[in-house]
Symmetry: C2
Subunit: 232 residues, 2 copies
């Protein structure tokens, strides 16, 4: 994953804060045992079910998501026949062009057919200020179910306030994003993307979802690793 | 702290992995409540006592340590009348020159008098391979007590194997470095450095030190934050 990030950085796909954010994720993943815990697999299955049942599902992509699992997330979108939209916090024309170009390259290299939005935003996410609010009317703005890997708390909150079902991937079960989302997958993104590729074809069914229970399960997993062993 | 790191990166002081390492630290600091917990203050006091009682104390500095607390760590060395030695894992002539030059600038700007080693290593830390083993005979090699903020596990192990007292700063109480060290300060480096500047003049006394108890205290602190509150 570090190698993928370094490559992405050299291509101009990442924000300055990308490496620090990844490091935070690494720490939580270490505490989770660098594995997909059962509650995370359950949440991934629920996310798959909700994306399949949606009228207008969409996958929002930022720099780290593209770097870590760009190909796999495009495959997920293809399985769902839904678009992806590049929607980044630190929006500059250069980064947007680099991300859109990189995704088109992946599509071509792997024969993936997916609509990629983000180049010409004509709408705004209500309640957010600045360029990070920009989005496509026929993309994020009108989607009913949105998968947003690695989202920040403000935007997660704004999307929930719009009445959308917000499915997030966040390794920190205590983050504002994790607590705010409809379904929180506490797992490393590239593992999540591979799991979604496996799960979507099995056509899982939506359940009555209790997100706090899932967050507590992740916290309990971490607590169980918080035992000192003098194994030096 | 992020700003300090960005500045340091632009000056060529940091390794590629520096931002990711900092992000990992941020995650653990968040779990500790971004504060100096009582057990960490106790460990800092013990480190101060051992540095004061040493025959040949030394402070080992790497890129992140210089970026986050370069000035404060030079002040600590001045209080102890001991040298610092730049000793980095990814050693290149450019980074060494940038780090040594930056430390000289800090000394000049703040009127600090401290010997800075690292430019001409004439010894090797036994048990380590490659440039990361290089050190000064009159510095790290012959020191009896060494403060190594942000050290990696291999070098911590090699220094302990040489019979030195190794005092480390590590936000992850489960890391190999944390478990291996003589005294582990589980705290954020800039806070530690400021605490050392306060504590050294009070001339604390060495105690019978039980490092596992300190690590367990940090783990317990983290466990106590691992409670889900539905405060959205």
């Amino acid at each position: 994953m570090r190698h993928r990030l370094e490559e992405a950085a050299s291509k101009g796909l990442l924000a300055n804060s990308a490496m620090i954010a990844h490091g935070r994720g690494e720490a939580y993943d270490y505490l989770l045992g660098e594995q997909t815990i059962p509650s995370a697999l359950e949440a991934t299955k629920e996310a798959a079910a909700r994306l399949l049942a949606a009228k207008s599902p969409i996958i929002s992509l930022n720099g780290n998501a593209v770097a870590l699992a760009g190909k796999e997330l495009l495959e997920v979108a293809q399985l769902l026949s839904c678009p992806v939209e590049v929607n980044i916090f630190y929006r500059t024309p250069e980064r947007m062009a680099a991300l859109l170009g990189h995704l088109e390259e992946i599509k071509e290299a792997h024969g993936i057919e997916v609509e990629i939005l983000g180049a010409a935003p004509d709408g705004q996410i209500p309640g957010l200020e600045g360029p990070r609010a920009n989005c496509h009317t026929d993309g994020i703005l009108n989607a009913d179910v949105i998968l947003v890997p690695l989202e920040d708390g403000d935007r997660c909150e704004a999307l929930v306030a719009m009445g959308k079902e917000v499915l997030v991937v966040d390794l920190n079960p205590l983050s504002r994003t994790a607590k705010m989302a409809t379904v929180t997958i506490v797992d490393e993104l590239s593992r999540v993307a591979l799991n979604l590729v496996q799960l979507i074809p099995t056509a899982p069914i939506i359940t009555e979802w209790n997100n706090p229970v899932i967050l507590q399960a992740a916290l309990s997993q971490i607590v169980n690793t918080m035992v000192y062993f003098d194994d030096k």
